[in-house]
Symmetry: C2
Subunit: 370 residues, 2 copies
Amino acid sequence: MEISKLGEFGLIDHITKDIQLNNASSIFGIGDDCAVMHYPNTEVLITTDMLMEGIHFDLTYVTMQELGYKAAMENISDIFAMNGTPRQMTVSMAIGKRFKVEDIEAFYKGLRSACDKWSIDIVGGDTTSSYTGLAISITCIGEARKEDIVYRNGAKETDLVCVTGDLGAAYMGLQLLEREKEVYYQQIDDINRKIKEAQKAGNEEAVKHFQEQGSHIANFQPDFAGKEYLLERQLKPEARGDMIQLLREHNIRPTAMMDISDGLSSELLHICKRSNCGCRIYEKNIPIDYQTAIMAEELNINVTTAAMNGGEDYELLFTCPIGDHDKLQDLEEAGVKQIGYITKPELGVRLISRDQQEFDITAQGWNPLQ
Amino acid sequence: MEISKLGEFGLIDHITKDIQLNNASSIFGIGDDCAVMHYPNTEVLITTDMLMEGIHFDLTYVTMQELGYKAAMENISDIFAMNGTPRQMTVSMAIGKRFKVEDIEAFYKGLRSACDKWSIDIVGGDTTSSYTGLAISITCIGEARKEDIVYRNGAKETDLVCVTGDLGAAYMGLQLLEREKEVYYQQIDDINRKIKEAQKAGNEEAVKHFQEQGSHIANFQPDFAGKEYLLERQLKPEARGDMIQLLREHNIRPTAMMDISDGLSSELLHICKRSNCGCRIYEKNIPIDYQTAIMAEELNINVTTAAMNGGEDYELLFTCPIGDHDKLQDLEEAGVKQIGYITKPELGVRLISRDQQEFDITAQGWNPLQ
């Protein structure tokens, strides 16, 4: 259905009509000049992200539903990274003319499935049009007790540096999708050239043959067997609220924490800068899934580079007092890995390689403005 | 300066380095995964707007500084429209390649001047790139005591319907700017055509003459004398926090309220729908500035249509118990105008014209998705 059939208010009504508020802190949601919330006993956390078509996502290999899920998760992840609990979300979209009502429905389906996972209420937003691509802006609101909030600036000398899950898989998933896209377009270009040549030569039979081949290519589903994890990490990332819960259950309170969106290198530098410290990270301790390693080998990419600079993992990077070492050891099975420790600032932000060489860690993470 | 010289974090540092937090409710601002706020005794209000180049603004006649100011004021206006006090703001921008650091500085200068006017802290945002135009997403956070919040749904039969300021001027300002832009481009096209013809004819002297004429046109400043108010209303709108204050000082508590962004017609329909009521609005009572009236005459536009459907006035539309009539009368001088009253829903949403005819009010306000 054409969006213009519904208009702005019609589309908003259509998309949001069955949205309900479940959190006690959500007083009033969609339908007035503002949403209204109530946080008498906790601090209010707020984070916002803007996603632009062609810069942050490519709709040739991401579905609208996946995009909605990922856009929500990226923001939810920032609330967890403060050791908070996400509660509300606002969703703004600027929509180009080529989108249909069904596309927006699919986006909201993904978004709401991410919100439902963490019991988050959608309380507002803005829906408008765009001359060109799709633009998305999401704001997530959460809460935390004042004493529970973990900033980036609390890391202390001798603290342990930990990450959850594994790193680099989302980046390798992106490389895989980019490669398939390139192969696909090359094949389409080739077949179109062949069709044209055959048409020029007046060879009807060859034209038909190549057209059939072209339709096979267009419908071809690449075989991602053995690489499912990489795709899932790129297309359907999960914010690690489960890890926040796990740390609480084990009475581990991080001294500094952030989520890994731009890449481990970039995030380590942020924590060290804000905490005025250095760190030593051991390459051999960086958690990497075997699918990531195989794909890196296949594409001739250094797997540590992928893990350090790839980004979009949405895992948690945090520091803990060294006294938590044994408790953390117990969580290794569950996916909490000690990768190094915090040092004095003058010792720098350093990576110790498998062969005991030392390197400065520099931010080669994703920079949208370079 | 090229933005790529600074990169994402460099640009954010550059733009936000001297931002300070002044409100007691602002605990932590820019520089972590989330901003942190504290609202133990009041409800938290949140509103968000997305502005797209070419749809919501045209940089051929709006400066980046004006854009920043207006973008902030539009959001601030929504907080006032709930009878709240604005406190924090987050600012996200997606920036095309043609923008320079100076453009972003100018945008922030305008934005901060609007925020300073109402003592609002900038606590976060996102800065990224865009393949095409400029995209802006602003979220404003405010507070209000629970008992003070005014929703759209509280209007009651016999309530008075009031508006602040005057209506239609922002719309006429837009028409004026659009007209000047059209004239300008027509003149440039004409002169370019003449230059080409002269070049073809090998007439050096004529080429020089037309080139000089072209440079005059390019530097020509249109004469907006007598129309300053219209331009100001379009380019530098003011959120009516002063009116919120005035109503409080006079112990007037609106039963329903919203700001007039899409046009009076559209907003009246919102209030009547949500309050399950009708209304009778008197054309003769709709406040119109004389510059608006003169410009409407000049452009052959019905001035009431401009006032009812123009939008972007950012005045307040509110309803009050009829018992407030005398108190409201005292505020007429200050710019509070009674334009009609609330009726039973079955009587409809009606406009009574100067010659006593009655019309249904329909939403012809700005619809970005049609």
